[in-house]
């Protein structure tokens, strides 16, 4: 009966209750949707980085990534690749020769990273071939083709079919030069990557620097499902215990921050909105209690326990807050799934986003965990907000509250 009374009391002053319910709904909608948007951006970036830069898992000699020492090679790469490919969770594996170099043209030079790849293998682990804005991805069999990022092309003032000269160190420590023809220009979501990374056929670079055949600097693994990353990484590590095996989380600390702290951050964000709303809820409930001074006095007089009166006001506060929260969550889920499907196009300001590695279309998303945490938070906030009006109610002296005059 207490529940019934509390629920009906919520609807006694419809305008007053609706105002706060709508405030809660809108506040939460705003908070939840921006959270979903940020989560969507994070997920987007994680996806882009995995699918154009790191893959899910990389294998290399321990310490290689520290200074790209070309002597730290993964020998016997073919055997390792074959072994990794037997795992059904693996979508593609690619061996990469990665060498620091200098790229020069008549207009200037730039320190870059040469990636020697087998194009058909690399296409299985990276979407880079789909991100070409000019040219093609090693379509012809000609030697010494290079695919570079737009940023680098701009910096070196090169166009398609221009030549650039790569200066590298051989395995014996000598300096060599190689002239390469730009056959493709790509543009990813990460302008740093576009400035740094250039791609050539592995056999062209092997010949130039004397890199042994059947060796690689890095072996990149792409999985069918991101959720398998940890499991597969552990398996590969066990198989090749002398190698360093790292997942994208370890490879990109920035992504780790994004994926790890996002949920806490979003909850803090919504939490602040809820705290602001709590003041409105307190105000509404205090007004409700004041309006009903006589009625509450009557209830205490006829023998309703103060604890029950307290509970009644608490329940009213919780119902009021939850109604608003449920509406807010429903509207949020609806708008998140709509935009989660169609995406939000940020192309107008996309230049700015690209610089940080974001894609211009964001698909908002939120996990179930978030909603569970949110529900707990709403109830906690409602309970805290209810304490003041409920305390006010039970402090009423029945004799004074019911005085007819």
């Amino acid at each position: 009966m207490l529940i019934q009374i509390a629920w009906r009391n919520v609807w006694r002053n419809k305008t007053r209750s609706l105002v706060i319910i709508i405030a809660v709904a809108l506040g939460l909608w705003g908070g939840i949707f921006s959270d979903a948007f940020m989560q969507g951006m994070a997920a987007q970036q994680i996806y882009s980085v995995i699918h154009t830069e790191t893959g899910h898992i990389q294998l290399n000699q321990p310490g290689f990534l520290l200074n790209h020492d070309m002597q730290m090679q993964v020998k016997d790469a073919d055997r390792i690749i074959a072994a990794i490919k037997t795992n059904s969770a693996v979508e593609g594996v690619s061996a990469i020769i990665q060498l620091p170099a200098m790229a020069s043209t008549a207009s200037g030079s730039s320190g870059i990273m040469v990636n020697g790849i087998q194009p058909s293998d690399q296409e299985k682990v990276s979407d880079l071939s789909k991100l070409l804005i000019q040219g093609d991805y090693f379509k012809s069999d000609r030697t010494n083709q290079v695919v570079i990022g737009q940023q680098l092309a701009d910096k070196l003032k090169v166009k398609l079919h221009s030549r650039i000269v790569l200066t590298l160190q051989t395995t014996t420590g000598d300096i060599v030069y190689g002239a390469f023809k730009v056959t493709g220009i790509f543009r990813t979501h990460d302008s740093e990557f576009d400035k740094q990374m250039i791609f050539v056929r592995n056999k062209d670079i092997q010949q130039l620097v004397g890199f042994p055949p059947d060796a690689a600097s890095i072996i990149t693994v792409l999985l069918n499902n991101n959720d398998d990353t940890k499991k597969v990484a552990t398996t590969i590590q066990k198989q090749f215990s002398g190698m360093q095996v790292q997942s994208w989380i370890q490879l990109s600390p920035m992504l780790q921050i994004l994926s790890g702290t996002m949920i806490q951050f979003t909850l803090i964000f919504v939490g602040i909105i809820l705290i602001a709303l709590a003041f409105g809820i307190i105000n509404t409930m205090l007004m409700a209690v004041m309006d009903r001074t006589r009625e509450i006095g009557m209830l205490l007089s006829i023998g309703m326990k103060p604890s029950k009166v307290f509970g009644m006001i608490m329940l009213e506060t919780i119902f009021l807050s939850l109604t608003g929260a449920i509406i807010g969550v429903i509207v949020s889920i609806a708008s998140i799934s709509f935009f989660g499907h169609y995406g939000i196009n940020l192309s107008i300001i996309a230049e700015g986003f690209n610089a940080f590695g974001y894609s211009s279309i964001v698909y908002p998303t939120l996990g179930v965990n978030f909603y569970i945490m949110l529900a707990i938070m709403v109830i906690i906030i409602a309970i805290i907000a209810g304490l003041f009006p409920a305390r006010r109610a039970v402090r009423l002296k029945p004799a004074e509250a019911v005085r007819g005059d």
């Binding site: 009374i5 006694r12 006829i302 023998g303 309703m304 103060p306 004799a399 007819g404």
Partner: protein, 236 residues
């Protein structure tokens, strides 16, 4: 044995600049089945006296003994329990819970007492019929007239068979016809249920229905008249 025994009761309100001596040494006894009016001009202490008897407020001195127990010594929790189980209240207004129907309002007390559903249903039906409210059981109070609301309040006060019922100016907001109806219904149930009714009033028509009239002035009893023999004394 009296139902209520009041001994040397005084109440001084100290919240004001000048202390108000609302009750100045009241001594009274009430027997089972009484139908008693407490009368006197506004400010004479009627409400204060009823509040002390119902355990709604603490006196400054003196005692209110109900079946050998001095309720002025009870703590807040015990008083709440005492009111729930032993006193029926009828106020001048704001008696009913607006969000509950007539039936739910009357059931409320027995539900607070955790009585079983069948007992509640039987008792509530009986009383609402007795009060002539049987066709309004599912109506909310705001759709009732003042007189009808007070009839529901009487049913609510009687529902758990309390030791006595305190009604503070129950007819103050009613027209004379509703007043007569309400008083007659109260008198009938007083006879039937043998429950003590004590009500305050300054309405002559209400006084005329009472069997005992206690007159207060400046917080003192100035007269106490038994007009007719009570039901009990006729029988005995």
């Amino acid at each position: 044995m009296p139902v209520i025994e009041i001994k040397n009761l005084t109440k001084t309100y100290n919240e004001t600049m000048v202390p108000v001596h609302a009750l100045n040494g009241i001594n009274l006894e009430f027997e089972k089945g009484e139908f008693t009016a407490i009368v006197g001009p506004s400010g004479c202490g009627k409400t204060t006296l009823l509040n002390m008897m119902g355990g709604l407020d603490q006196p400054t001195s003196g005692s209110v003994i109900i079946e050998n127990e001095d309720i002025t010594q009870m703590n807040r929790g015990a008083l709440t329990d005492f009111r729930l189980h032993h006193v029926g209240f009828i106020f001048q207004a704001y008696n009913l819970i607006p969000v509950l129907t007539v039936k739910e309002n009357v059931e409320f007390i027995m539900e607070l007492q955790h009585r079983n559903k069948k007992d509640i249903a039987d008792r509530v039906n009986y009383l609402l019929t007795a009060m002539g409210m049987e066709d309004k059981i599912n109506v909310r109070p705001k759709y009732l007239s003042g007189g009808q609301q007070q009839r529901v309040a009487v049913a609510r006060a009687l529902v758990s068979k309390p030791k006595f019922i305190l009604a503070d100016e129950p007819t103050a907001n009613l027209d004379s016809k509703s007043t007569d109806t309400l008083l007659d219904l109260m008198a009938t149930l007083n006879e039937k249920e043998q429950v003590t009714f004590i009500f305050s009033t300054h309405d002559q028509r209400v006084m005329d229905k009472a069997r005992r009239i206690i007159t207060l002035e400046d917080g003192k009893v100035i007269s106490d008249t038994k007009l007719k023999a009570t039901h009990e004394s006729i029988n005995s």
